[in-house]
Amino acid sequence: MLAKRIIPCLDVTDGRVVKGTNFVDLRDAGDPVESAIAYNDQEADELVFLDITASSDERNTMVDVVRRTAEKCFIPLTVGGGIRTVKDVREMLLAGADKVSMNSAAVLNPELVDAGANAYGNQCIVVAIDAKREGNGKWGVYTHGGRKPVGLDVIEWAKEVYNRGAGEILLTSMDADGTKDGYDIELTRTVSEAVGIPVIASGGAGNLQHMVDVLKEGKADAVLAASIFHFGQHTVAEAKAYFAKHDISVRPMRKDA
């Protein structure tokens, strides 16, 4: 059976992991390549780098980070932040990314989704959606880290990017993000049921049960998490063992296989 994916996310700015990570035995917790290798060794199912400042100057730094990561990590790698043109998509894919994630650029110029999917296949185009609750069963699309409403309905926007050829949606609840109170189950389920492509749930993971809940009740295909893994609260192995106990299909750890 297709396994549910566990995807650690590293926020990067100017070539450094924001807030850092505190893995044991890591020489430099701020180096994204070292953190990526640590997650590769933990047998995470995929990795995401988000360049949170993403100025044009910084893209070169990110390209170098991606290139060095791809030499050492043999799991899929998604890169987001600052992807504004098909040329940016190509640059990241050539550096070794398997997928690129676009957020505000897709909102400003939805045809970027079509163009990217046409040029490189829909499997490598991820659209990131930041959603904020605006009433009962209603969410609005926000950009700029949840500060700026763009006047789009999340469900309509999700359907639109699906129809334009996105291969996956990375869905972040701005309400839940940072709270550690759990993912927005209703949001995730509503979007997952509205589109025919995989949905990665993001924002709010405080413990492993939260992940189980969003995978089961929220019908997510994958979970993204940062702090729960970065600060050693849980390892990927612990998450997998917990999921398996709750009848969620996971890729077994190498030693268990």
Binding site: A3, E71, F74
Partner: protein
Amino acid sequence: MQVGIVDYGRGNLHSVENAFLAIGANAKLVSTPEELEGLTHLVLPGQGEFGDCAANLKERGLFEPVKNWIAADKPYLGICVGYQLLLESGEESPDAIGLGVLKGSCKRFPNVGLKIPHMGWNQVVPTDPSHPIWNELPENPFFYFVHSYYTDLQEQEDIAAHCDYALNFPTMAIRGKLVATQFHPEKSQHNGLQLLKNFLAL
């Protein structure tokens, strides 16, 4: 040993190159028929659309040389669209013609309420687990997949493994020294690198 990875303007070539380098193989990208000289192993990766990939292979004059390579039973690995191109045709691009090495066509997954693309780690069930391609691998190993079309192989003896998603579909072909996988060994961590090692040892 010299592994050549066919660069026909499509796909994440460096991932495949990095994976071969990581297992200690000599690997380089090749994009002209002349560059096939001196290779011991040929790898055709691939991402994107069937017809587009076939056209790019033709444009570079590689279509016939790749066919001849396979006809001579030299070691060959096709990955994802590089596997699909071995078939005769693909629903994705009805006018395009594949290499026609394997009998069958590529079909879109039926709509049974599952997400398409089939994306993520799934279990592969070998037809013959004693084949050396499975050396040192766990029973029914997991590999990373990302595809919307599957290979409907017609000759049972070509099918090396099945996978279950929307239907039970042939996910790997072996014929002599030809190995072809729908999944991405270069993105499948330990299992993937082991499979690449086993391919080199065939």
